[in-house]
Symmetry: C3
Subunit: 371 residues, 3 copies
């Protein structure tokens, strides 16, 4: 009844280029990056159950087959072919790919080719700054190169993304730091920094956010622990009317507060994805909560997937199922009209992302290529 033929995944990562053993695969289903507790497995999670339901059929196996059988089949097909089958089975027609995480991950071009889809790049600000630092001799050179790199990135990418608020809460202090403060922080950081060292200085993180805001490109902000209204509220107020959109990522379990911010500020948007991938059989319930307060023009589908094409599949399928179930029920009980439900489904699946990121209308499948 409610269909979403086109899906823009507004935030995801690439997939591993190499074969994965059962243990490595399982770790990707967990949240902490480490091994599961003794006597437990990350396959016993909503994500694990959703992968076992949705992915085996795409590789010719029965839903809910044992993990070992699935991994064996995946190895038989090879990482490339299984990735192609999974990504093409996801229904995603455009991938916006954050290229800022380490690991042997496919880039936008490979995602587009494997998935027969469009793909565009999202630039991670902290990695950009760390790369600039690796090649800049002085604080002044660093700051000049940084400005130039952000400017150059803005020309090619669809969005910036930042984990500044996760690395240091003061990064979201709602005004840009002064030039002297920035130069001093840059000097200290460059002085202490080993090659490849991570950026966690609050002044430089803050500077980075404001340089990105000045670029006008949408800025995706990763939520830290706690209520995004407490963390992002002042930053949102300070950036209102500057012409740059903010997209809040990963709000769960504070997705209602993220939706509330999207209702309060015209330039604030909220994403839908990882809350669905991680909650599996509960995806419809979580989606319904996000749909309480946010204006329907302010919500964007994403998978948030990283490493496993299975997570792109799960994100996309759970989103479509949840949308069908939630909006379908509201239509059935007369709360929404069918026409409104279809229109809102299109906005969440692709329309809002196309508008916010300036993407072209969905091309015919035969025209797809990396933009």
């Amino acid at each position: 009844m409610i269909e979403t033929p086109s899906l823009v995944d507004q935030y995801c990562h690439g997939v591993f280029r190499t074969e994965l053993g059962l243990g490595t695969f399982e770790t990707q289903l967990g949240r902490g990056g480490g091994p599961p507790a003794p006597g437990t497995t990350f396959f016993d999670t909503q994500t694990g159950f959703a992968v076992r339901r949705l992915c085996p059929p795409l590789l010719g196996l029965d839903a809910h087959c044992p993990p070992a059988s699935y991994l064996a089949r995946r190895r038989d097909l090879g990482v490339l072919e299984s990735g192609r089958r999974l990504l093409r089975g996801s229904g995603i027609t455009t991938y916006l790919v954050d290229t800022g995480l380490p690991g042997d991950l496919t880039g936008p071009g490979e995602m587009a080719a494997a998935g027969d889809a469009e793909a565009r790049e999202i630039v991670r600000l902290e990695l950009l700054a760390e790369q600039v630092a690796d090649t800049s001799g002085t604080a002044d050179a660093f700051l000049a190169n940084l400005a130039e790199s952000v400017h150059a990135a803005a020309a090619g990418a669809v969005a910036f993304t930042s984990v500044a608020g996760v690395r240091h809460p003061l990064a979201l202090t709602p005004c840009p730091p002064g030039p002297g403060e920035v130069r001093g922080a840059a000097r200290r950081w460059l002085g202490d920094r080993p090659v490849g060292g991570r950026l966690a200085d609050p002044v430089l993180l803050r500077h980075l956010l404001w340089v990105a805001v000045a670029s006008g490109l949408p800025l995706q902000l990763h939520a830290g622990a706690g209520d995004p209204r407490a963390h992002f509220g002042d930053f949102a107020r300070a950036t209102e009317g500057l012409g740059t959109d903010l997209v809040l990522l990963h709000g769960y379990p504070y997705h209602r507060s993220a939706a509330h911010l999207a209702a309060l500020f015209p330039h604030v948007y909220a994403d839908l994805g990882p809350a669905l991938v991680r909650t599996g059989a509960r995806a419809a319930a979580v989606l319904a909560e996000i749909l309480e307060l946010a204006p329907f023009g302010k919500l964007l589908f994403s998978s948030g997937a990283h490493g496993l094409p299975e997570l792109h599949v799960v994100g996309a399928h759970l989103f479509r199922e949840a949308l069908e179930r939630v909006l379908g029920a509201w239509v059935a009980e007369g709360a929404w009209s069918l026409a409104d439900a279809r229109r809102v489904a299109g906005l969440l699946a692709a329309g809002n992302a196309r508008r916010v990121y300036g993407l072209p209308e969905a091309p015919e499948p035969s025209d797809r290529r990396e933009l």
Copy 2:
């Protein structure tokens, strides 16, 4: 199966006396007071969809008709007649009206006449203090006049309401400020203040809350951002046993914490309303969450409506539908008895409010007048 013939709206505002254009009407459906984001509309919200479902039939149109058709019909009828039809279609039999917001809004008398209902006044403490300040020459005169005004207001109103916690978190410091501290703060505020200047001084806000607590009239407290247990917990503990009830307003998305406070403290109550108006098709789900922890004698219906009689309609209809659905399901599955469900419905709809605010039992419709 579960009926609520009498509804006491324990917290709302009046409606605009003047005709509204489409843009002004739409702004009232948003949360931030400003315009919607480019390419979006506040009609694409749960509130917007609920207005389009519930209000057109009261004006002789089809549910879900386009906003422009609805606004045209509203103009044809005139603001007075459309207001009468809407308010009388809401099923609300008593309005408790916060008269403390600016704008050309109807007062309790007009609400009673338009809605064929009772109406009583809720006095907003900050406005009262600002009005007293406008006519007081010295700090001592201000404080004496303030005490007298609060006392006089308490004689005529059913409750005080305050946004002190929103204006300054320290306003909820759990003890009254000392007399010298209050006098000093009054002197500073009056000295700096332009005519009509807003009260945001934490000492004076705190003083105001404790003067109100001393009056014995129920005190309605607007939630700020964040968990009400963190904000109000200490204030609730400090005011326990003093004989004054506290009613927490606008808890969403922290309505479960507000309900928790209502369970912990005998003098704390929680309202139901705006969470329902703002969440539309999700009102039953949100109501069910509030009903988890709060004793059923501690919850009060409200619409929280402001400006548009459509919001009174939506608040009342969504509440009744949600109650029927939630309690009806519990009866159907055997969790509650039907008799209990009907009794609890009556408490939430009107009984608790009548008890807390000392309102008379529901009179026959022909006897209604402003009290």
Copy 3:
């Protein structure tokens, strides 16, 4: 379809040994320990309605009978016999009993006998320290005796439990205090302390937690007000890899954050119980929320019951009903396989608790005794 023949109640208290009047009984249904608000009753809560639904049939009365009839029947049977009937009707086969609350409550041995079940002790750290203080003359003696008592308790009990985070937020500072700091705090506390005085010193509470962590016995931590990720996050990080499991108790309404912590840290577990006892007809909805993010090997059933055997009954029945409803629906819609659902039900009901606390597999009913 989904059965849980064996239930390990991983956190509860004993029941009152003496007869209770209606007022005392009612107080146990509330949350604050005091009387209900004028004109209200704690029977008008989800817990009250659940007690009235589930307990009268176990004593030969109709479900939903009036409280006075139920209490009369309870008195006729006597506190011992009614307790036996209720506990044996709960379906709980193992009780883990926190013996650290005051009042004339049954201990593990009596719970086992009355309930025809196993029972083991949970030792409350703060009470242990207070008891040691009562019999220790000097700070050095106190600290030595404390270490010995914790060591001795660890040999007989299945777990420690602590309310340190509730008594003082700094108790969760994520590193053990230094020896000098501890000795100074002990000296000050013992110097000021009346016999029976409560431990609320943050340094000693912290010391106590780290002594318990060193014992290797699972440590159950009571949530204070607010998000457990904010409170426990750093403590969890600091204790990762030390070999001691942490079990978060009483997370509601932050149960999703508690579940999130259980997903992030291999040694962190979350309990299910009181959120269900307190939410009655909503238990399935709350359980479903907890099942969103937590790995299914990290959740443990408990009743959290205290004083009234009715609360053990309600906790167990609501848990089993909620499990049947939530997992049954996921199986019915194809999200989970039936085999997985049955396996997960067994983990939540008993399997995870047996693994974490090192309990033997469920014995045959005829073999039950206090261990």
